[in-house]
Amino acid sequence: MISLDALLSRDVRAGARLLRWIDDGNAEARGLLKQLYPHTGKGTIIGITGNPGAGKSTLTDQLIHRYRKQGKSVAVVAVDPSSPFSGGALLGDRIRMQEHAVDDDVFIRSFATRGHLGGLTNTTTDVVHALDAMGWQIILIETVGVGQDEVEVQRLAHTTVVTMAPGLGDEIQAIKAGILEIADIFAVNKSDREGADRTVSELQMMLDIGYVSPAEQAHHGGSILLRDQRQERVCPQGWVPHIVKTIATTGDGVDELMTALAEHTQAFQNACQDESFGRARQRQEFLDVFRRALFERGWSYLMHEDHLNQILDQLLDGSADPYTLAEEAVKTLYRL
C-alpha cells in the first residue's frame, strides 16, 4: 500500500515504490496515477537527449548543481537501454551525479527501456507525471537518441536539450535522426575538444536551411502554433533553437545553458497563456495516453488464452492472411 498523502508530501520511499510499480506494470499504479493527476502541472520538465557518451549525465549533474543553488528541488529520470539479449541492464548514469547522492532535495532514478509492450510504448510519461505531482520542481529526463519509444518523452518535455559532441559526425546524424526538429536548445558539449566551432557553424547552417521562421509561417498563413511535422511537438511560436557551447566536466558554458533554459521556459509559459497552445499540448498528451491504452488492451488480448498462437497457426498453415487476422482480432477485441 502506498498512501496518496505520503506521495504528495514527497516521501522518498513511497515515491520510489510507486515508480517501481509503474515500471513493472503493476495494476495498482494506474489508480494512484489517476489520483495524482490533478496535482500535476507545476514542475518544469526538461529532456536531455543525445548520442551515447555525448556527456548527458555530466551535464545533468551540472544542471542539478545550479538548480539547487536556486533553491529548487530536482528529480532526475535517467533512461538507459536494456540488453536485447538478456533483458537485463547496466545503469550507470548515477556515477556522474555522485555529489548529490545525499541531498534530500535531489532524487535520481535509473530506468531500463525494457521494451515495454514490444517496444511500442514506455512508462516514462507516467513516471514524469508522478514526480511532477509529488512536487519536484525541476524534472530532468536523460535519454539516448530518438528511438520510437523516446519520441513520446520529448513531446512531454517543456524543453528539449540535444547534447552533441564535436568530431563524432553528430551533426549529420542529427538531420537523419530528425533531431533538428526536436531540439529547443543544442548543447555542443566537449567544446574543449577540437572541432567544436565547426560543429556550431554546421548546426547553425542546418538550422538556417531547415528552419521555417515564425515570420515565414505567418506569411504562408500558418497557424499561430509552430508545429513541426515529424515529431508533432507543440512548441512556442517564435522560438529559434539556441546553440550553446559547454564543457560539462568543468562547467564552462553551463551558465549560458541555464540562461537558454530560462528563456525557453519563459517562452513556453507565455505560449501557455494562449488557449489554443494549451489545447494542442493537451491533445498531444491525451493521444499518447490513449495510444498506450489501446496498445495495452490489444496486447493483453493477444497474449491471453493463446490468441496469438491460434493466429500463428492459421498463418503457418496458410489458411489466412495477416491483414484479415489483425482486423478480426481488433473487431473481437472492441466488439465492433
Binding site: R13, G25, N26, S83, A89, L90, L91, I95, Q98, V102
Partner: protein, 134 residues
C-alpha cells in the same frame, strides 16, 4: 497493464580503495543474467549507498570491499537501511574478507558473503534463490 517484474540490484564500491574491477565484473554478470543493475562507481559512503538504494527501490545491495573496512562499512549500511525503514532491501558483500569475519557479518544482517574466487554464477544463483522482485 502487463506485469513485468525484474530484480534490481545496486552494486556499490564503498571505501577508499580504487579497485572496481571485481565490482564491474559482477555488475555485468548480473545484467547478463537478466537483472537491472545500478552501478554507482567508486568511493561511496554508507550514507550514499543507502540513499541510492532507496531512490532506486532496489531489491538488494551488493558491496565490494577490498580495503579491509568490511567489518565497519557493511553493518553501517544495514543499520542505515533499518533507520530509513528499508530493511526489506537485502545486503550482500564480496571482496577480500577473511573467513573468520563472516559469521559476525551475518549476525549483523549481511545476508551473504562471497570471497575472492567465487564464480559469478554462484552469486547469480544465490540472488535468484533468495531475492524476489518486489
Amino acid at each position: 497493464m502487463t506485469e513485468q517484474r525484474k530484480i534490481r540490484v545496486l552494486i556499490a564500491k564503498p571505501g577508499l580503495d580504487g579497485h572496481d574491477r571485481g565490482a564491474k565484473i559482477v555488475a555485468r554478470s548480473l545484467r547478463d543474467a537478466g537483472m537491472e543493475v545500478i552501478y554507482t562507481g567508486l568511493h561511496q559512503t554508507p550514507e550514499m549507498i543507502v540513499s541510492a538504494a532507496i531512490q532506486e527501490d532496489v531489491d538488494a545491495i551488493g558491496m565490494s570491499i577490498m580495503s579491509g573496512a568490511h567489518n565497519v562499512l557493511m553493518p553501517v549500511v544495514v543499520e542505515g537501511l533499518a533507520e530509513k525503514n528499508a530493511q526489506d532491501i537485502a545486503v550482500f558483500g564480496g571482496g577480500i574478507i577473511p573467513e573468520d569475519d563472516i559469521p559476525d557479518l551475518k549476525e549483523k544482517g549481511i545476508k551473504a558473503v562471497f570471497t575472492p574466487g567465487t564464480p559469478t554464477a554462484d552469486i547469480i544463483t544465490w540472488i535468484k534463490e533468495n531475492i524476489s522482485p518486489k
